[in-house]
């Protein structure tokens, strides 16, 4: 089981679950990180945090602490 914040730029993955604090989970869901959606890690910020991912055809930035709540399955590197 991998978490989003550990993935390297360029990695593609499928969202398996959102865990943790429910307010944050709702916000993540609201931004389109629902179960089964495919995402790609684009890059990390210069100070390694936050990270940028591509999901549902748009770019989303989120902090590593937030990405930690997204359980993913890696598809390809």
């Amino acid at each position: 089981m991998r978490r989003l914040h550990n993935l390297k730029p360029g990695t593609k993955a499928i969202v398996l679950d959102i865990v943790g604090n429910s307010t944050l989970a709702k916000k993540l869901l609201g931004m389109g990180l629902t179960k089964g959606v495919e995402l790609k890690v684009v890059r990390n910020a210069p100070l390694k945090d936050p990270m940028e991912i591509e999901v549902r055809g748009y770019s989303l930035s989120l902090r590593k602490a937030e990405a930690e709540n997204v359980i993913v399955e890696v598809r390809e590197k």
């Binding site: 959102i18 429910s22 944050l24 989970a25 709702k26 916000k27 993540l28 869901l29 609201g30 931004m31 389109g32 629902t34 179960k35 959606v37 890059r43 910020a45 210069p46 100070l47 390694k48 945090d49 936050p50 940028e52 549902r56 748009y58 770019s59 989303l60 930035s61 989120l62 902090r63 602490a65 937030e66």
Partner: protein, 424 residues
């Protein structure tokens, strides 16, 4: 899973269904945004580019807007000069120093506000603003703030009024409140003349270092207070930074000007009245009782001076006397007035102040006064804008109160250390 989550999933399922019917996905080609992002989020030059662009915003907001502010200032001084020729000296004083002086005081803030928002709207519409937050967020979260706090904090070095209005680019309410509340600690340009005067007189060779350390002290205190506020007032949790990084766009002149005008209008409609009333009250306090001040000429006999005297016992432990108290009361109007007020009290004018202050201050008490000038209360105009942007007098009063206490504590510590080291 709860209802809200189900709803989000169902909504995206429906979206997926519709998109699937009408959009054909091909392998995403290289986009214009990819090119720009490669540079502006680069691990080596991303942060320097961000800082360079912020410096451009700062220069544009303050240097380029300066002639417009000066034109407003000159115009109202001219009106005031005409009004001061009126026979009845009371009416003359009210019109020139109160009415025209007050409007001049309020309206000089319009150009920097307009220019700040022209620059911010350009950054926002091009799409760079969220990238700026993306690049600097990590550093800012270390001090209780977040990426989007950076620009308002930086603008505070020019003037806290446009800086606090610039927090309108922040969506999260808690983050925005904290950013507003610590913004007055960023040492605006009006405080510089005070530092320059005292550092120049008492710390000749190291004056530059003393002035710089005042700025650094402000930054340090802002970082500490932001951390404390987040921890003890807002429950300690950082607000999430989930934001879209939209494709880059070319801004249009029309939309930039419309947006800047809209923000400037907010200032005119809401804060301007509070500021103007404040200016009239300050006119009253510095010129009354009318007979005792000889028609507003002897500020040392005014109500403002009485307040200054009342303050003396409080600041006495730091080696400060009533003259500093009166100057600080005057500085409430606008902090650069501290120097002018001292000149008036000592009867030497602004140019002669440097020669006489060694009689009233020691190096240690000068340091205490500089620290107090940095921290003590937001100036009148800032209080007006705090009320407007925080949306309540309660929060505004809290900012004033914490700054007073903080000023007292920090000045005490600095004075104590300075005396201990034998600076006095």
């Amino acid at each position: 899973m709860d209802f809200v989550s189900e709803l989000a999933v169902a909504r995206y399922e429906k979206i997926g269904e519709i998109v699937g019917k009408c959009v054909e996905r091909v392998e995403k080609p290289k986009t214009f945004s990819d090119i720009i992002d490669t540079v502006v989020t680069d691990k080596y030059v991303g942060i320097p580019i961000f800082l360079a662009l912020m410096w451009a915003v700062f220069q544009f907001a303050y240097s380029v807007s300066a002639p417009f502010s000066d034109a407003i200032d000159v115009f109202f001084s001219w009106c005031g000069d005409i009004a001061s020729g009126i026979e009845n000296s009371y009416v003359a004083s009210f019109l020139s120093d109160g009415f025209f002086g007050g409007w001049g005081f309020v309206l000089v803030f319009l150009p920097p506000i307009a220019f700040v928002f022209i620059a911010l709207t350009i950054l926002e519409q091009t799409g760079y603003l969220p990238r700026a937050a993306f690049v600097v967020d990590r550093a800012m979260t270390k001090v209780g703030l977040q990426g989007k706090s950076f620009i308002p904090m930086l603008l505070g070095f020019g003037c806290n009024i446009p800086a606090i209005m610039a927090t309108r680019t922040m969506e999260d309410d808690v983050d925005r409140k904290i950013t507003i509340m610590v913004n007055p600690l960023m040492s605006c340009s009006a405080r510089l003349p005070v530092y320059v005067l005292f550092a120049g007189v008492f710390f000749k060779e190291v004056a530059g270092a003393v002035v710089t350390s005042m700025y650094l002290l402000g930054i340090l205190l802002a970082a500490i207070m932001a951390t404390l506020f987040r921890k003890f007032i807002f429950g300690g949790k950082p607000s999430p930074l989930l934001m879209e990084l939209p494709p880059y766009e070319t801004p249009t002149l029309r939309s930039v000007l419309m947006n800047a005008w809209g923000k400037t209008l907010i200032f005119l409609k809401k804060a301007a009245t509070i500021l103007f009333i404040g200016a009239i009250i300050m006119w009253f306090l510095t010129t009354h009782p009318w007979d005792a001040t000889n028609g507003g000429e002897l500020i040392e006999n005014s109500y403002a001076s009485m307040i200054g005297h009342a303050v003396e016992p409080i600041v006495k432990p730091f080696g400060l006397d009533w003259t500093a108290g009166v100057a600080l009361v005057g500085g409430f109007m606008a902090k650069e007035i501290v120097v002018g007020t001292l000149g008036m009290i000592y009867g030497v004018g602004e140019e002669g102040v440097a020669d006489v202050i060694p009689q009233h201050f020691t190096p240690a008490s000068a340091l205490a006064l500089m620290a107090i000038t940095l921290i003590y209360v937001p100036c009148l105009a800032t209080i007006g804008i705090l009320r407007q942007e925080l949306g309540s007098w309660k929060w505004t009063a809290f900012v004033v109160a914490y700054e007073l206490v903080l000023a007292y504590v920090v000045a005490g510590i600095i004075y104590g250390i300075a005396v201990g080291l034998g600076v006095a």
